[in-house]
């Protein structure tokens, strides 16, 4: 069976950016890019379809509603105590707790979602595509679905150093 993925290596980030732009225009599904440092342009090109922010907003709403329900239940329904002459249901002191709990739950759940989606968990052996990824080389990993020969041609044109096929 033929290996599943095309792996192209780049030494120059500008070339990689060119290649990514062209592949994106042709709607080729890029699996991942591994690199020694972050590149904002690349990040923008690759993650523009991330749904994580929407998940975060959802978690935030869930957090606010649930903690409000909890506080309402404890301080109004289950065990109402009057202190300081304030009404039993008073909103202002709840705001701080709602705010902080919203941050806490959103942060934890978003991190968990990200790790779940990216299949990262403690104890997992590191999946390093090549030792030189920690040095000076970018790796672009592609599916071989579409038209491998044409894609390889493009990659070569855009300045890929080396194009291999690998099972990842």
């Amino acid at each position: 069976m033929a290996p599943k993925n095309i792996v192209a290596t780049f030494r120059d980030e500008a070339n990689l950016l060119k290649a990514v732009t062209r592949l994106k225009e042709n709607k080729v599904n890029m699996l991942d890019v591994y690199g020694p440092f972050a590149n904002h342009d690349l990040l923008k090109k690759l993650t523009s379809e991330s749904k994580l922010p929407y998940a975060a907003v959802l978690y935030g709403i869930i957090a606010i509603v649930s903690i409000f329900g909890f506080m309402y239940y404890t301080s109004v329904i289950d065990y109402p105590i009057m202190y300081g002459g304030k009404p039993i249901f008073s909103f202002p002191p709840m705001v701080v707790i709602m705010f902080l709990f919203c941050i806490l739950l959103t942060t934890i759940l978003t991190v968990l979602t990200f790790h779940g989606r990216a299949m990262i968990f403690p104890g997992k052996p590191a999946n390093i595509i090549d030792p030189s990824v920690t040095d000076d080389t970018f790796f672009l990993v592609l599916d071989q679905n579409y038209n491998p020969e044409e894609i390889k041609e493009w990659l070569k044109e855009d300045g890929a150093e080396e194009i291999t096929e690998k099972e990842l």
């Binding site: 904002h40 342009d41 923008k44 922010p53 300081g84 002459g85 304030k86 202002p92 002191p93 705001v95 701080v96």
Partner: protein, 386 residues
């Protein structure tokens, strides 16, 4: 790079017309209701001082943090500061209306009001005016130095002028942060002379940058529509939008900090400020202001994509400038005037001041290169992208 802005003739006519409306409004105001007019003079002075101050504080922060991205737009916040000398004159005119606005300045009040009598060594008319002169002297001196070295750098490509600008930016941020907080307390907080909040000055000082950025965005977008500032790209707007987003959070935070502590402690001395606003007839403006200044910018600017669209930025900035007016209206009017009134006097005087402010700002913009020629970070700013 050496473009200069030349104001259109009909723009100047428009500003002159606005100032004329303002003068008519002042005259009708003095005929019908002097107290309301003096309160409005203070309101509009403070409104535009806030924006000018916000512009210069923003400008100083760019220098202190060695920010590269903002070099291309830095003439706009600087031009906003051009209003300060004029505002100093207009603010000193308030001397004639002090008893109309400030309860503590009314003659003979110290005999009937023990608390004001106790505060009298600080809150008396001569000392108040001395402090006002001092504040403006400091603002103007430091602001002038900032302007001077920025212009010198245009003429001569020398890094030492940049170092000087950096030095005076530090001076300005020190002076602005401390003395604009004090000035806010002096000019606005003492209207409710029985009430005090330690957060008040700091809050108004920090928020001046919020509204300053809104004004900067509007001016840049206007200049772009006139064919200038082609160098300003998406990333610059993105950064300015981030400023709005951050400050909307700061606004919510400081607003709530002041409110919650007073609400919780429930001391009559402190709740006297919130009673008419929170429960009385000012309730509508109280909530509307919170929605305009906090809720809408916070929800809209949260989105990264929306936050850099010029149309969205324009809408939010215009809303914020309305929000600033409501914010100051709510701080000044209940204590100094009384009933909720909104009419020709308010609108006309705001228009007059806005005409004056815009005229001076665009005049200051036209006096120098629109893009600082020899700024060391200019190259970085032109290629700014995120």
């Amino acid at each position: 790079m050496e473009t200069t802005y030349t104001p259109k003739k009909n723009m100047n006519l428009l500003f002159a017309g606005m100032i004329l409306i303002g003068i008519v409004a002042v005259i009708t105001g003095f005929i019908s209701d002097t107290q309301r007019t003096w309160a409005n003079i203070l309101l509009n002075n403070y409104y535009f001082i806030t924006i000018a101050m916000g512009g210069l504080l923003f400008y100083s922060i760019q220098y202190i943090t060695n920010s590269g991205w903002s070099a291309v737009i830095q003439r706009v916040p600087q031009a906003l500061g051009g209003f300060l000398p004029v505002s100093a004159v207009l603010m000193l005119l308030l001397y004639f209306g002090l008893p109309q606005v400030y309860e503590w300045a009314q003659p003979g009040i110290t005999e009937t009001d023990k608390l004001i009598a106790h505060k009298e060594p600080f809150l008396n008319v001569p000392f108040f005016m001395i402090r006002m002169v001092l504040y403006f002297a400091l603002f103007l001196a430091a602001g002038y130095m900032l302007r001077k070295y920025a212009l010198l750098q245009d003429k001569q490509n020398d890094l030492k002028f940049h170092e000087k600008s950096r030095y005076y930016a530090q001076v300005y941020i020190f002076i602005g942060a401390i003395f604009f907080s004090f000035a806010s307390k002096d000019w606005i907080m003492t209207i409710d002379s029985h009430w005090y909040s330690t957060l008040f000055g700091f809050r108004n000082m920090v928020l001046s940058m919020y509204y300053g950025v809104a004004a900067i965005i509007l001016i840049i977008l206007y200049l772009r529509s006139q064919g200038y500032f082609k160098e300003v790209n998406d990333a610059h707007f993105h950064d300015l939008g981030r400023y709005l987003f951050r400050f909307s959070i700061v606004y919510g935070y400081l607003w709530f900090m002041q409110f919650l502590i007073i609400w919780y402690a429930n001391i009559p001395e402190l709740t006297v400020y919130y009673q008419p606003r929170f429960l009385g007839e000012w309730q509508f403006i109280f909530y509307a202001e919170l929605i305009i200044n906090f809720a809408i910018p916070f929800m809209v600017m949260m989105s990264d994509e929306l936050g850099k669209k010029p149309k969205v930025l324009t809408t939010i900035s215009v809303l914020l400038l309305i929000g600033l007016w409501m914010n100051i209206y709510l701080q000044i009017m209940p204590g100094s005037y009384g009933p909720v009134k909104f009419g020709f006097v308010e609108v006309g005087m705001w228009l007059g001041y806005a005409g004056l402010f815009l005229g001076i700002t665009f005049f200051a913009l036209s006096k120098a290169f629109l893009i600082p020629k020899n700024h060391p970070y200019l190259e970085e700013s032109l290629h700014h992208h995120i």
